[in-house]
């Protein structure tokens, strides 16, 4: 392929490739995202290739990036009808090809079924997808991420062709400011303002950096963007570089994402071949080069200065910001650093305009970029919900809609599990209790509730999740990941971890809550970087909304959620037990004894409180005791 | 041009009053052993003393070699002064001085050198024969 020499050439290429797209063409898109790969999508994809060859079918097979509905993988969508098959196995493939592709017959057994038993034929009707609004993920289920042509045929690189055809950098910046795009990495700083301050720095080499060091437990939206649509990130960075006057860019990506690294590198190569990267891009005289920099997977390297240290070849630890990074960032040069999702939003905004973007979301950003949250946000919805996966929703959607409509409600609600809280924003975020379920989700609302948008992790918890354990988990995670440089973060987390671990073991002391508060406030005020400043959030928010659970642990040695192993005992309910022996068969320590059709008994000395008996029991015959109950009911 | 020491070896009797004065002025325990000026008695046939003290060189090796910039020229007196706040006791200056005019105080192991007593050198005042002059 020849290098494109002008925006006009790119435009005509887009038109040419677009005209080749046949909307009536039979297409099978197979998700090859990490989630689906884990459930066997690799073999499914290969089998499809073989079987189609065998049958000599006229059907286009697309190995796409992540569709989002990872819980139901491997996902297969058949276009143009949009039939979605879930949990497809290799052995199902001949039938799908013979019946659905050849005869148009819909195979009911592969369709998604919700908890009420309704089946959904079309992808767009599935509750998980119905209420989503996909901007960044729009192409994820449709294009092959390894082919730049697929991206270009969908208006790809249209934004760069538009701005290189005569836009001034100021106009690009103005568009981004007016669109109200706020950084998707967590803090929600308006991207346009950041670009503007960097563009103001004159006579200097400048850098743009893409922060792809996604380290929050349970968050994988950046990974899916890079795996599913790497060119959108590249186009976003190109736009940003043009706007601020940078000629070099870095994508800092964790080495734990090998597929994303591979896809990005392939995408960069293709963009080079088309002349969309390198020198004199589209004959405009604008040069830009992107390098992929792999990180060793330290959580703290997501912090902007630590990330820059790491790119510079030093140990990734936050450094003092004598000046803001837009003035002195990477190698002490002006640097714009944005998150993957932020960059991926940029081309869409330039293609479709400010009005379109500002029509989505909350607040008013005409005069004040902080005035609201515009556009969409991708959340990774995980935890105790039925439909887990990646969802892209407009800002301002209520938590209830997200958890109960898109997420399909709480898992095992038949067993009496109820919604308790949702943890947003990763380890630095906080827990939001049920009473705020109807609050809209946007940057400012979440912060008001003591949490944060973060990178968009959303962990749903039910009434069997102990909030002290949640706080302990995140504090322990952060303790391991703190860089250890500043005292409040290093020692504060050590102290909090010690106290929380003591509380969940039933060794809590009366002054512990005050001590936690004390440590948390000092960490918030005095820590060096935002990792430490926000590290107390899990503790502070659970203390705020679930103080009674802490008190129960400390005062009564009781775990209200029945999760803390040291505080609970299992007992067979004499009235409900039918003697089915299921629990005894499943008990890993053989602590349960009893004859068939007779009430079983748990030997407390052998029991390790794993909870398997409760999980398998169909008759609700396992009582979990905690606190004073133990002495009353066990009486031993 | 700041004032400087003028040494007249022909006037020096080797009495070492300068050493004592320096020790009284600068050391805690009045130890002449760590005086910053030394009057050497030369052996026969010359038979005279020569006081040796920091020359406050223009391009001084001690200043150059100090890794933390603790040795700085005092613009008022022209002396090279030690900033003990900055000093990290690496003793690089001690080795670097070609004349051996920086010494180490054994008490606290830190370096010491002539600071011209802040512009009023006491050794000059007390020299009985005017072998030391400061102008």
């Amino acid at each position: 392929m020849a290098k494109l020499k002008s925006p006009q050439e790119l435009d005509s290429l887009i038109k040419e490739l677009e005209s080749k797209l046949d909307p009536e063409q039979k297409k099978i898109s197979i998700c090859q995202g990490t989630g689906c790969l884990a459930s066997g999508a690799d073999k499914v994809g290969k089998t499809f290739v073989d079987e189609i060859k065998k049958r000599k079918l006229d059907v286009k097979l697309i190995h796409t990036g992540c569709h989002g509905f990872c819980e139901r993988g491997p996902l297969v969508v058949i276009h143009p009808e949009g039939i979605m098959y879930q949990r497809v196995k290799e052995k199902d493939i001949p039938e799908i090809l013979d019946k659905t592709i050849k005869n148009g017959e819909v195979l009911k057994k592969h369709l998604y079924k919700d908890t009420q038993g309704n089946r959904y034929e079309k992808e767009q009707d599935v509750p998980f997808y119905k209420d989503q609004k996909r901007i960044v993920f729009a192409l994820n289920g449709h294009i092959d991420p390894t082919r730049i042509e697929d991206y270009i045929s969908n208006q790809g690189y249209g934004a760069i062709s538009k701005i290189l055809a005569g836009w001034k950098p100021e106009k690009v910046i103005d568009t981004i400011i007016k669109s109200g795009l706020r950084g998707r990495g967590g803090a929600g700083f308006p991207a346009g303002i950041k670009w503007q301050s960097c563009a103001k720095q004159k006579n200097s080499k400048k850098y743009v950096v893409c922060n792809a060091d996604e380290g929050d437990p349970g968050a994988f939206m950046d990974r899916s963007i890079m795996e599913g649509n790497p060119h959108s990130v590249i186009e976003g960075m190109l736009t940003g570089a043009f706007a601020v006057g940078a000629d070099e860019g870095y994508i800092y990506i964790r080495n734990e994402y090998p597929l994303a690294v591979e896809r990005l590198q392939a995408a960069l190569k293709q963009a080079h071949e088309y002349g969309l990267l390198g020198e004199n891009i589209l004959g405009s005289g604008f040069n830009f080069e992107i390098k992929v920099n792999r990180g060793g997977g330290a959580f703290v390297c997501g912090e902007s200065t630590a990330l820059m240290q790491s790119i510079e070849g030093k140990v990734g630890r936050p450094r003092v910001k004598w000046q803001h990074t837009v003035k002195k960032g990477l190698w002490q040069k002006p640097t714009v650093i944005n998150n993957v999702e932020t960059w991926a939003n940029v081309p869409a905004i330039l293609n479709r305009g400010i009005d379109w973007f500002t029509s989505i979301g909350t607040g008013d950003v005409t005069d004040n970029p902080w005035g609201g949250s515009k556009g969409t946000k991708i959340f990774s919805l995980v935890g105790k919900v039925n439909n887990t996966g990646l969802v892209e929703v407009p800002m301002g959607m209520t938590l209830r809609k997200l958890v109960f409509d898109i997420g399909g409600g709480i898992k095992n609600s038949k067993k009496g599990r109820k919604f308790k809280a949702v943890q947003t924003g990763g380890p630095s975020g906080g827990c939001i209790p049920e009473k705020f379920l109807d609050n809209p989700i946007d940057f400012d609302e979440l912060e008001k509730l003591g949490s944060m948008m973060g990178s968009g992790g959303m962990i749903v918890m039910d009434n069997r999740t102990c909030m002290v354990q949640v706080a302990r988990y995140f504090v322990d995670f952060l303790k391991e990941e703190s860089c250890g440089k500043c005292t409040p973060c290093r020692e504060g987390l050590r102290g909090m971890s010690e106290i929380l671990n003591r509380i969940v073991r039933g060794k809590g002391r009366s002054g512990d809550i005050d001590l936690l508060y004390n440590l948390a406030t000092t960490m918030e005020t005095a820590s060096f970087c935002n990792l430490g400043k926000t590290a107390a959030n899990p503790v502070l928010s659970t203390l705020k909304y679930f103080m009674d659970e802490y008190k129960a642990h400390i005062d009564n040695k009781e775990c209200p959620a029945r999760e803390c192993g040291d505080l609970i005992k299992f007992q067979v309910d004499k009235d409900n037990c039918t003697g089915c022996t299921l629990c005894a068969k499943n008990c890993p320590t053989e602590a349960i004894s009893g004859e068939r059709k007779k009430v079983h008994h748990i030997d407390q000395h052998k029991c390790v409180q794993c909870g398997v008996c409760d999980d398998v029991c169909n008759f609700n015959a396992i009582n979990i005791l905690s606190g004073p109950e133990i002495n009353q009911k066990l009486g031993e | 041009m700041s004032k400087t020491f003028i040494i007249n070896p022909e006037k020096c009797t080797g009495c070492r009053t300068c050493e004592l004065t320096c020790a009284y002025t600068h050391t805690v325990n009045n130890q002449p052993g760590i005086s910053r000026i030394r009057a050497f008695n030369t052996k026969p046939p010359m038979e005279r003393g020569v006081p040796i003290v920091c020359l406050q060189c223009d391009s001084a090796a001690c200043v150059e070699v100090c890794p933390v910039g603790a040795l700085q020229r005092n613009q008022e007196t022209g002396a090279i002064d030690v900033d003990y706040e900055r000093c990290i006791n690496c003793h690089a200056c001690y080795s670097a001085c070609p004349f051996g005019n920086i010494l180490i105080e054994p008490v606290n192991n830190r370096i010491a050198k002539c600071d011209k007593c802040g512009g009023d050198p006491q050794c000059v005042k007390f020299c009985p024969t005017n072998a030391l002059e400061y102008k």
Binding site: R319, E498 | R48, P67, I88, N89, S95, G100
Partner: protein, 259 residues
Amino acid sequence: MVKIKINDKIVQAHKWETVLQAAKRAGFEIPALCYHPSLKADGFCRLCLVEVTKGGKTKIDTACTVPVKEGMEVNLDTPEVVKHRKNILEMLIAQVPDSPVLTELAAKDGLKDVKLAKGEDVCIKCGLCVRICRERIGADALAMQGRGPDVTFTPPFGEAPESCVGCGACAFICPVQCIDYENNFADIKIWGKTFEKAVCSECGMPLEHTSEHIELMKSRHEIIKDEDVLVCEKCSRKNTLETMKNIVDGQLTFKKLGR
């Protein structure tokens, strides 16, 4: 010069100074364990907390990392500041219980009972040793290793460091004196390594430095010459004396002396 207000006192500060430097110069006392005038502040210990008001915004920040700005107001001892400083001190003293420096600071702030679980560390993790070695000495023999509470400041892999020159600056700069350093007559012992001192090329007495350190100095500074640095103090003086004698005797002109 810019004017800033510290505890209601107007202080003149240099443009390039930080609040900590300006306050110290003006005679205020701010506890700071990771600060050293010869190193750029890096905000490790967080003890130098002050309340800074600038442009209408008030926040608590570390004095060592805030550059002065015209019209800035600084408050050193608000109850908030003292509370957080005490908490940080408590965190440190819990880990390093036997340090006289910390005990003294704690007494000043009225910190009595330490509620946090006690450790047995000796290092307060201020990072000065690593920074002085890397940034000033240029040996780069030490590193900050590990993460979170397990962070240590040691030579790589905790072994005797290859690039250490035995200068002892790390031991000297350590605010809690937790680095073992022995300066003997003929050798220096540090980081589990024994360095022979170089000897005077004239009298054979051990010099102050190890030959590794002298090599490092020579590589960093052109002005360092063997004939200066490999001669002990006494022999240097003697040489000077000889030169002087020659001058007096008219065999040398004064120009040859000095630089």
